[in-house]
Symmetry: C2
């Protein structure tokens, strides 16, 4: 991507490229169509969508024939892609006309939640009585497609565009950069997609294998596909109303492992495949990520085990206090679900007490690794922010000392450090303002959110996590919000997914000027 | 202050200098002693304190005779001064044995709240029946002395020590730096003290003058002195249980003006005295400070005027909705009280509704000007953070552009920019963790804080503001907290007052090493 090719933004080039993306989105429609054929469900929602995708896609493609995109056109393409695809992707919900999601605002919310791998839902009732299997499969698939796009965006495109510290991955020697991985974005993308597809198939095999082995009665083939499709993108949608609570301990442990994989920098697996596993195990980000989950998980497991982490004793998941396996499993599952921003639930953590819920709420700000589909602020940024604070204390005492910031052995560019802080501060400012906006809208419309519930709904959507606590807890939905609040959260999911700054630039005058 | 004079920290030098500070603190004891003599109250609390100050002061002074302090010894001195003086300053409360403040933890809380100009109180009952006039005057005086120390610290000492962006004042051309103002710290201090004392006398004259003119019945000479002593340091302690609600509109307007003065960079007034008023009126920080207050105040006044900003209609301050003067006055007073971090109240804003209370809560993070006794994050940091975010968006679009950050005409050093972000992020992290600590402690001890109350108690103490909302509202107190929580807030007031990093450095190994 060449910088400043043209004097003004060539928006036709961005739209033309967007047309190709929309056109190719018609291919994955084969999945819900196959499901509909198998179960004898209506094909109309997907045929209509297919027509719209091909029509809009080919139409937009004609705007432009140049294969090359400039720097600024790249931003427009990225932002438009994650806005227009979710809009088109909402069509099946509207045409199907089943349940609460048939409303335009709800359909857009559910579709944006899917393609941004957020996993917040506005389905009033999740069941095969209310929704066809093919529509629910489209819902899972939207997360898988969104996650695929995000992994490529994070590893291959955003570092190129130098967005708010996204280039930090370049800084770490064992981590791959665009140049080191493969010479061209298309090759990088293909390498990453192979890894992503490989892990999806592996998850499917393990989930369904456990079912065939007799230790996962509820994990039939449909469920195995559905959950494999929403684990790898750290998505969290489930066709089960009670999420992973519906499954056996063996499945919950398996999902925990695959969530941890899904929150890891995918590019590191490329080195493992090349026979260099040390580049994964020695990677600073990977180690920090595991350490953070280890600390959060151990604290939660301890609180659950001794019994002070539970407010009410749930009857449907077995005794937890005093039971080591139950405490460990619930703690490990919820820690992985929150830190990787997947958002599955192995039990309703609304039954946890305020201390354990607040720990989960804090963990929502961590985020997984930079080269994955995980959302939120991300571990590597916190790691470097902490290092910068420690360095600032050192240079305050020793004003003449020069101390470059290092990640493993490489020096982190000071511009990247500033980008990290700018991103994190912008994220936190938007978070704080949005929590108040949602809280006040709740007061206005009588939703009666508590402050903590408003805070959790905000980080759940801005951080692309999915569920929050209380009214937006894992077994509840975002349905009670007003349409205005839902559209606001659609905006939060959109900008949160694209690292905020890559969307905000489009709204600056200097972007459109010469 | 010379950097790295010695290999290790010469803590005896810091302690020796601290001894001198403590010794000189005996002089202001003349004020409460005079009050006690006039009203025929006990002298014992102050005589005991006098003895301790002289004894400890002279004792510590003997540790060292060198007049020069190194860079690192400066940090130790600053931190110890704002820890040991509040401890010694708690003695009068303990010896007097009046009311709730006679308990050691409460005495330390009230004294730390005074010397850090915070203004949070643990007095269960504020009245002359419960507390002698001399003890209450000591409480007001502790804020005045603390404010005097802080102004010098902010303008003359911290920029020298290069603490977390505190040197930003140097960066602005019209603003003074140490070199430009006067050649030596002592001269700078004396110039600032004259301005500080001059405004205190002016406030006293206006407050008491309005009383003599018959438009301020309750503002007798004692009250005029007491409020002059707590306005200029942005302190907020009042011997009136209902704070500024006890006074006439004329007094409330006068206090509003003096609070705005108190939140202004004092060094700018030095230029005004030198006949260069343009250096005040053209100053970027001053203009941003006024603009911020103007925006917050206008929104609040509008919400109060149309009546949606009030939850319950208070009967003791007159009709507010529909009354222009009442709405304007309450909005202007509370805006100035919160943005300057003074913390007086012209009415109980617990009667305001959630929207207006949340606006106040947000305004608590603004803070006044850098060269004043105001606490919290401070306007200039937000101004530069906002400029940095805008620049980051620009350079994201134009990656080849070089754009130094400017404050007025001067370029802001990139190290200073980083220092700003590091400070603000550290402040926000400590704030977030502390809010949870206080919230959980409230659950543990049955104080029953709401999340918003815990948040407001945290920013009220860490930001040296004073009152929060709800249980810690302006007409309530911090008495219900556990001793552990009170000691934790003593810590927050201490580090918040000293710009956090100048205390934290002392806890790093590199500070004590060679
Ligand atoms: K998610
Ligand atoms: K204050």
């Amino acid at each position: 991507m060449n910088a400043n090719l043209s004097k003004y933004v060539d928006y036709r080039a961005s739209l033309g490229f967007l047309g190709s993306v929309i056109k190719y989105m018609a291919i994955p429609l084969a999945v819900p169509i196959a499901v509909a054929l198998y179960y004898g469900e209506s094909l109309v929602p997907f045929v209509v969508t297919l027509g719209v995708m091909l029509g809009v896609g080919v139409g937009l493609e004609r705007l432009h024939s140049e294969p090359d995109l400039g720097h600024r056109e790249g931003f427009l393409l990225v932002s438009l892609t994650w806005l227009v695809i979710p809009i088109v992707g909402a069509i099946p919900y509207l045409v199907a006309g089943e349940g609460t999601v048939a409303h335009p605002v709800n359909a857009l919310f559910e579709s944006m939640s899917g393609f941004t791998t957020t996993g917040s839902t506005v389905l009033g009732e999740i069941s095969f009585e209310r929704h066809s299997r093919s529509i629910l499969m489209w819902r899972q698939l939207s997360q898988w497609l969104g996650g695929m796009g995000i992994v490529v965006l994070m590893v291959a495109i955003l570092p190129e565009l130098s967005v708010g510290g996204a280039q930090v991955m370049d800084a770490e020697a064992p981590g791959p950069s665009l140049e080191k991985l493969t010479p061209r974005i298309r090759d990088t993308a293909q390498a990453l997609w192979r890894i992503y597809i490989g892990f999806t198939v592996a998850a499917l095999a393990v989930y369904y294998g456990l079912h065939l082995a007799g230790v996962a009665p509820n994990m039939d083939f449909y469920n195995a596909v559905a959950h494999a499709l929403t684990t790898m993108p750290t998505g969290g949608f489930s066709p089960e109303a009670r999420s992973a609570e519906a499954f056996s301990p063996a499945i919950q442990w398996a999902i925990t492992v695959f969530m941890i994989v899904a929150g890891t920098n995918f590019a590191l697996f490329w080195y493992v495949l090349k026979g260099e596993p040390g580049r994964l195990t020695g990677n600073t980000e990977f180690r920090t990520y595991l350490t953070a989950m280890g600390v959060v998980g151990t604290v939660l497991a301890t609180l659950l085990f001794v019994g002070i982490g539970l407010q009410t004793t749930p009857t449907n998941v077995g005794e937890i206090p005093g039971n080591l396996e139950h405490s460990l499993r619930q703690a490990a599952f919820q820690t992985a679900a929150i830190v990787t921003t997947t958002g599955y639930a192995s039990m309703d953590f609304n039954t946890w007490d305020q201390s354990t819920q607040l720990i989960l709420l804090f963990a929502m700000f961590l985020g997984g690794s930079a080269g994955s589909a995980a959302g939120s602020i991300k571990i590597i940024r916190w790691y470097l922010i902490q290092k910068t604070i420690v360095r600032e204390l050192f240079t305050t005492v020793h004003p003449d000392a020069v101390r470059p910031l290092r990640l493993s052995d490489d020096v982190v560019d000071e511009g990247t450090v500033r980008g990290l802080f700018v991103f994190t501060m912008t994220f936190l400012l938007i978070f704080a303002v949005s929590a108040v906006v949602l809280y006040l809208d709740g007061l206005r419309t009588g939703v009666e959110l508590s402050a903590i519930e408003a805070v959790s709904a905000t980080i759940a959507t801005l951080g692309n996590i999915g569920p929050g606590v209380g009214i937006v807890g894992p077994m509840n939905s975002f349905l009670p919000f007003s349409n205005a609040a839902k559209l606001y959260m659609v905006f939060l999911m959109w900008i949160g997914r694209l690292e905020i700054l890559s969307v905000l630039v489009i709204f600056t005058p200097s972007y459109w000027g010469s």
